[in-house]
Assembly symmetry: C2
Homo-oligomer: 226 residues x 2
DNA sequence: ACGCCCTTGGCAGGTTGTTGCCGATCGCCG
DNA sequence: CGGCGATCGGCAACAACCTGCCAAGGGCGT
């Protein structure tokens, strides 16, 4: 990894840090000065460490007032977890953040003032590596990709409305799936038609970004929904 | 729960504790004096707290020498995790514990000298409740059930041999499943026939005690195999 | 070489899951 | 009341998954 970065590096414009605490320590000053932050994330875990850090907290959430433009793109699954959904609403209402939802596979990405990009690598040894990029060409490219994703994403309100009723029965569906109950029996248990039960499962899988039930099981467990 | 226990209780022969630390604190003296311990467990997590506690550690693992009869029944999944498998071999070789594997659904159970039974309840709020039973009739019943499970279980060596080759490719299969790859493509990726790939998946599911792929996904994630 | 045992993978037939389609039903609003 | 939109659930076609069967090979001991 470091090697690859080494070959790409063209004058110290790419830095790599390991682990979230290190990232927070190294970038809090960047957030503190930012007026435009764009952020793509698959869940709310990434910044759990950051959020407890008061310095970056203010920056991430809108420093002192309003002049910070905050855009966040999440995967649908954040709306399945009541706690996450509530947190989303909070940062939207209190901080004025714009929040959208995308069904696309997105990497964890942060853009600061369209001048600095932070990309998350794969989690290794429990800690993820983060690449902090300042090279204009790269940041430009990442920014345009983010903007595209942003445009194609739907607002959280629209999405929230679509899965409002899903959230109610999701726990029961997940429980049945997790116990290996067949669709036939599960539908009867819930007093639904098999077709409707499968509809729920499909919606659930879409929300989890899963293309197979195995994958859905993994994701559900990752999110602590089972 | 407490209510139910209250109605069953017939003179203080059933005690309920919440959480593993409390259990360890309340029962270490029982283990210390035991000469016959039988234990059914689905993984090695339950006694992670206990194992760090020196008092109960000696008791669980054979106190000072040999006069303790130690029987343990596990689910097949312990053999999928190299670390767990190694630990199993260790307590077998060093402590002389008899270890068997059963494909049946078993509840976490501990029997001490055929006079005390400890049954694990369902995990709630992150902590499990444990019922400590001394009433002879109940302990007798639990003991006979355990003995039956013990007899029908296979020795760890026999089982280990059966899934030796499975363990080698399990990580790859789990990875492919976890990425939602279809059987067709997954088989090609591994250079296997579809039939053989599905055989692997079936063995994996059996080892995980799962009857559906969703359930397998959940279990695999629980065990940190994905 | 021969027989033996095991693994492999194609085939076939079954079950389970996935999805589009469409009529039935219900609540809502003009 | 009639229209409208949304959801529901049966049906059907299809895809994916599961499994018994069996022939084809690959070691391995004799």
């Amino acid at each position: 990894m470091t090697n690859t970065v080494g070959t790409i590096r063209t004058g110290g414009t790419v830095a790599v840090v390991r682990g979230e605490e290190e990232l927070v320590r190294g970038t809090s000053h960047l957030f503190a000065a930012a007026t435009d932050i764009a952020c793509a994330a698959i869940d709310l875990r990434t910044w759990s460490a950051a959020r407890t850090e008061s310095g970056i907290r203010a920056a991430l959430c809108g420093r002192d007032g309003a002049e910070v433009r905050l855009r966040k793109v999440y995967r649908p699954n954040v709306l399945l977890d009541p706690v996450s959904a509530a947190h989303l609403r909070e940062i939207r209402d209190v901080r004025g953040a714009q929040i959208r939802i995308t069904p696309d596979e997105i990497n964890e990405t942060i853009l600061i003032d369209r001048r600095i990009a932070i990309l998350a690598g794969d989690p290794r040894l429990g800690e993820r590596s983060f690449s902090i990029v300042t090279q204009p060409e790269v940041v430009q490219g990442v920014t345009s990709l983010f903007d595209a994703a942003w445009r194609s994403a739907t607002t959280v309100d629209a999405y929230d409305a679509r899965i409002a009723e899903l959230r109610d029965i999701a726990p029961q569906v997940l429980d049945l799936l997790g116990r290996g109950v067949k669709d036939e029996a599960a539908a009867r248990t819930l007093g639904l038609g098999v077709r409707t039960y499968r509809r729920r499962v499909a919606e659930l899988m879409e929300a989890l970004g899963a293309s197979s039930r195995f994958q859905a099981g993994v994701r559900a467990r990752e999110l602590g929904l089972v």
